[in-house]
Symmetry: C2
Subunit: 349 residues, 2 copies
DNA sequence: TTGAAAGCGATACCAC
DNA sequence: GTGGTATCGCTTTCAA
């Protein structure tokens, strides 16, 4: 008789089965500070298990005034960039007992507004927005106003990507990664660099370049603009850029690309032209995909891996943790592969 | 005064602002059959917009007894297989005004049980489970019992992958795809086939083979087991298998692989051995990834694309639509690329 | 500590 | 058509 034909057992069913009041059952099962006598406590727990009780989140949300959910808005979940962020986010949300609500703009960023509007119905406690491009640049669309409104009425907003006041942001540590790569390559003995810069309109790409320069200068090496090539972000772009580069190679020891795909394209083109990689010319990249082009092992290329999963998790933490003020940025990982062998028998710099 | 300092406006605020009862406001804004006078209707709509009203899903859920959410459980969202399914699922859920709750087992399928248990708290209306392997095979884990319980208490369960009674399933149309590929290749004039079978423990792989045989037999061509090679599912596997194959090539015209990665590996190995593809030997694959190995255009390989996005969307529809009895399976798409040129000047079969 | 009762915001049954 | 009102399941004062 505890569990009526109506279906899912309610808290009242548990209370009745345990012979206590609903208040007590509530305190045991969902209350914050435990203030229930041991005997009652056990009885309630046993009863809950016996009737197969499971908290009704909607009811709890109504009573408490907040729904334990966090929304994640991504561009296209099929994109590794977003998929890896989502992976970290689901893990962290789940760990905290939160529901992760996934929304995809399907590449159409103008949909963001509508999606967030839709979202409000759920009254999620936080909103995480993953973006590849600058958010404030689209201020005219009213997105910023909407985000601010959300922050006022609902909960915190965190952007994974470019910061936009007054919204908290987790930036990919591209400058750090660029710097770390430079340091590592200097350590290996490289001194004469050329850099392939993919799509400078994307902040991450510029940051990688800037960070790389910082790292180089720490070793007393400069990277003049004449050594920086702007390259379309694709394998084809890398291949084409290499042709141009070879006409004026000079004494370059290594090409560093701000994007793996460009690096792979360059590698392919170089090899098909009889330039041995890394023996004649070394190559390094930067990226987030685990793609391993045919004939190569993914680990072969020296590159920097963006900590996207960690960033996704950090975004959730920051969004949910009221204490979070500044977000510790995860550290990028420099991977040294055979594409950049040590240049000298002994380390120097 | 309509919107108190308390924060988010409630339905009562809208009603007051419009000068109507809360019941009327409810009918206008969320009710099913419209039975409100035009005048009132407009007033309510205007008031809602004016105060910035947004339905409180939790409250609505309590009153209606159901929460408009659907949960999607995937293995690893970073995997293209799951990402594409999720993409289609988010689109369809959003289209229907449903919240899509994403859960990831992170590769550990034993977590499925815990995740679904967690999930129950939300009382989602449906549950979609995407899996690569057989579900019923894991019956011992109690998963099936749990799914049945969910179906009884909450809503429909749909599996994207292998069927498992009494749970509805959307199967990848691998048999259809295999058959369609065979038909297309016969059409091009191919008659002597070898098949590389990747991981026969995965039902999809077997289905592709079976379907392929069905398609061939319709053209009077047989594929004896001696022409089927079991190959590890990787490029390396494809490369290795090709070596073995070449020792006894016979008069084979084309190698068909049940997995693209294997096909690419085979291609690479063949070319490095001086066997021209497709001139000396043609190649075809089957897959769901848009990977384009270095030096090749993704469209170059003849392959079959699994309609994963459509399957994701179809799963949501089937899970949410009470009328759905059997699910129309999306059709796989055969892509003919230069890796399989026509063998004869004129079609025959 | 424990229990009774008042909401939380929206829906829907039921008179008017 | 429209407007009261009980109700959904749970939390949380407030007394006891």
């Amino acid at each position: 008789m505890a569990n009526e034909a109506s279906g899912t057992p309610r808290l009242a069913d548990v209370a009745r089965a345990a012979g206590v009041s609903q208040s007590t059952a509530s305190r045991v099962l969902n209350g914050s500070t435990r203030q229930v006598a041991g005997t009652y406590r056990d009885r309630v727990l046993a009863a809950a298990k016996q009737v197969g009780y499971s908290t009704n989140l909607a009811a709890q949300a109504m009573a408490r005034g907040r729904y334990p959910a966090v929304a994640l808005v991504v561009g296209d979940i099929r994109d590794q960039f977003f998929a890896r962020i989502a992976f970290g986010a689901t893990r962290e949300a789940s760990r905290r007992g939160y529901v992760l609500n996934l929304l995809s703009t399907e590449g159409d960023e103008s949909r963001e507004r509508d999606l967030i509007e839709e979202l409000r119905r759920q009254r999620p406690e936080a909103l995480v927005l993953a973006r590849k491009r600058d958010t404030s640049a689209r201020a005219g669309s009213g997105l910023m106003e909407q985000l601010i409104g959300f922050q006022r009425e609902n909960g915190r907003v965190v952007i994974v990507g470019e910061p936009a006041e007054p919204v908290m942001a987790i930036r990919p540590p591209d400058a750090d990664g660029g710097k770390a790569l430079a340091t590592a390559l200097l350590e290996l003995g490289y001194r004469r660099f050329v850099l392939f810069l993919a799509d400078p309109t994307i902040p991450s790409q510029r940051d990688r370049l800037d960070g790389f320069r910082v790292g180089l200068s720490a070793g007393g090496v400069a990277l003049p603009d004449s050594q920086v090539y702007e390259v379309p972000q694709s394998m084809a772009g890398g291949a084409a850029a290499v042709k141009e580069f070879l006409a004026d190679r000079g004494d370059t020891e290594i090409i560093v690309s701000t994007e793996d795909s460009v690096a792979w394209g360059a590698i392919h083109e170089l090899q098909s032209r009889g330039v041995a990689v890394p023996d004649d010319l070394a190559i390094a990249g930067y990226g987030h995909r685990a793609s391993s082009p045919i004939g190569y092992d993914a680990d072969w290329l020296t590159t920097v891996r963006s900590p996207l999963e960690e960033m996704g998790a950090a975004a959730i933490s920051a969004a949910l943790d009221p204490l979070a003020v500044d977000i510790p940025t995860p550290t990028p990982e420099v991977h040294l592969g055979p594409s950049t062998p040590a240049r000298y028998p002994s380390v120097r710099h």
